[in-house]
Amino acid sequence: MKKYRLHLMICGGTGCQSQDSNEIIQALRSELQKKGYEDEVQVVKTGCFGFCEKGPIIKVHPDNVFYIEVKPQDAERIVAEHVIKGRIVKELLYEEPTYHEKVEHQGDMSFYKKQLRIALRNCGLINPENIEEYIAVDGYLALGKVLTEMKPKEVIELMKESGLRGRGGGGFPTGRKWELTAQNESKLKFIICNADEGDPGAFMDRSILEGDPHSVLEAMAIAGYAIGAEKGYIYIRAEYPLAIHRLNIAIEQARKYGLLGKNLFDSGFNFDIELKYGAGAFVCGEETALINSVEGGRGEPNAKPPFPAEIGLWNEPTCVNNVETFANIPPIILKGSEWFGKIGTENSKGTKVFALAGKVNNVGLVEVPMGVSLKDIIYEIGGGIRNDKKLKAVQTGGPSGGCIPADKLDIPIDYDSLKSIGSMMGSGGMIVMDEDDCMVNISKFYLEFTEEESCGKCTPCRIGNKRLHEILERITMGEGTIEDLDRLVVLGEMIKDSSLCGLGQTSPNPVLSTLEYFHEEYNQHVVHKHCPSGVCKALKKYQISEEKCVGCTACAKVCPVDCISGEPKKRHVIDPKICIKCGACFEACRFNAVVRP
């Protein structure tokens, strides 16, 4: 077979595919054929590069050039310039938002510079639908090593030494979880991969499954060997069709190569994996609810103990680990616990993938060593706040986490430090908010989510969250009282203390943390009926300043309900009875004459 001199890696993740990356691949292939270069250049569909905001992405090997926001019609240019003449297409390069310079190589981009990729190591590097490419990058070597050279106890010991903790939210030590499951004698045990990623905005698990499905299969087999299970389930939401498609291909290929099935590596160990589809309920990310759902029951949690390690799926010992946790395991086996232990902080080893979103310049998946500060993530990897606005808070941990105020940005991120400031790691959602975001509204948004996603089994969560939401609703409508703020705290603490599962035990966190750090903003809402960031519509009162208005009529022209009156060159007036508080006049005025008190 002839060797290709150039590899064009095109992102085939969900984000880029929705922006025509499949069409780009077709266009590139036909263009290469037209010019007679199809034998020299390989076009590869890869997993997610993480820089989803700038997709679709093409990376060229071996020159390491990184193109962003490519369109199908750019294929001609890329072939004519880059492939044939070796000239970089400058227009498609990334421009640094802080110092406005085009960057050619991925490694030089500020978005990637501070990242350390362990879980995402193969995303964007290999074709996820080709098992041989995974094998080429040391795939299944860890499984082979474990089965031929190690005893199950040694595997567990290695995992414990590594200090790896669950990446799904709770942060329970993985080795300890395996040990607990291994200790329980039973003929039948199960490994479950929790791919029920439900935090709004978090998509690292999906990206791993789409970009590197074999790493999860391999790690599940390793876990199966360690705890004595021969069967694994991947519980994945049905709304991840591409991840399901790639997993199915991967499982089939692994079976064909004898990497799943009977007597793997001639060790007598059997292991196979089956997919179970979830309907996308947030609570099914909780392990007992997940197990109920796999069994075909309602996705409702059970009281713990007994833990799944004792009584799990079909009442047998079961170990549930998250996708990202699994993706970390093969490198730990191959490189050793010492290598892993050097990365991260004292009690949080390794890296964590965050879904960086919100008001930052660079949005996407970032994997950083534990202990990196929020400031580094936001200002270096994230490229700073959009439109040079001021940062107000960072929300981490999704609906279970809290808001971290701007003055706590220096805190090194790990499981314990986040918990100590009222937030949590969660599955790694990270939403950056600027001065235009209203904290009351943000916590209302999360409460809306948890209220909707509460399974309803226990009263504190079912009714408590509804009441919390109602109080917040009242406050944003301008009907809140100062007593409401105390009620939020009392009720929130009560829900946390008395709920059955992790959902209710953490759902008041967004309210409680914003109440603590942004108490003045809540006060403004209830006492002065004023929303400082101007988000709460009911509290907005637009006015036109007498001194500043020059009568340019710009505001009157954009008003959709014609509530602004006034003659040209004379002061204009807003009729508050008709005004729908859309803010169009505020944006249109170039003299800062429209004010929202």
């Binding site: 077979m1 002839k2 060797k3 290709y4 001199r5 590899h7 890696m9 020299e40 090997h61 071996p62 020159d63 390491n64 880059h82 044939i84 003449k85 070796g86 000239r87 991925q106 490694g107 590097l125 290999i126 041989e132 490419e133 094998i135 080429a136 990058v137 040391d138 795939g139 299944y140 070597l141 082979g144 090593k145 031929t148 190569y257 004898g258 990497l259 793997l264 590596f265 001639d266």
Partner: protein, 126 residues
């Protein structure tokens, strides 16, 4: 899959297809070929393909071929520049497909310069 050896065999085979994606770590030798209009007109593409073929024949995997634009010495095209990590770049001129093959065999594998085809030993950029 019966043994670790079997897996390693597949790995070795598969690695040959993806090794150019590892160029990022900076350990390999970079071989630049001038592919401006002048280079292409002088036969740079044929040279490039010959070099690729020779790399495959000789089973060399730490050399990465990178195209560049015109190097500014159009009279000496096709030109090949070899950047080994930690060493000054070396440039060859008038590299026909045959000379290209010799570069792989002599220069890359045996560490011998092809004196007759050297353009300049080093060059400087400001």
């Amino acid at each position: 899959m019966k043994s670790l050896e079997e897996l390693k065999k597949i790995r070795e085979r598969a690695l040959k297809n993806v090794d150019i994606r590892r160029s990022e770590d900076g350990s390999g030798i970079k071989l630049l070929i001038g592919m401006g209009t002048c280079g292409i007109a002088a036969g740079a593409r044929e040279t490039l393909n010959a070099i690729m073929e020779e790399l495959q024949v000789q089973d060399v995997h730490d050399v990465f071929i990178v195209q560049t634009g015109c190097m500014g010495h159009c009279h000496a095209e096709p030109m090949v520049q070899i950047d080994a990590p930690g060493e000054a770049p070396i440039i060859y001129g008038h590299v026909t497909p045959d000379v290209g093959r010799q570069i792989i065999i002599k220069h890359i594998l045996e560490g011998e310069l092809l004196e007759d085809h050297l353009f300049t030993k080093t060059h400087h950029r400001i």
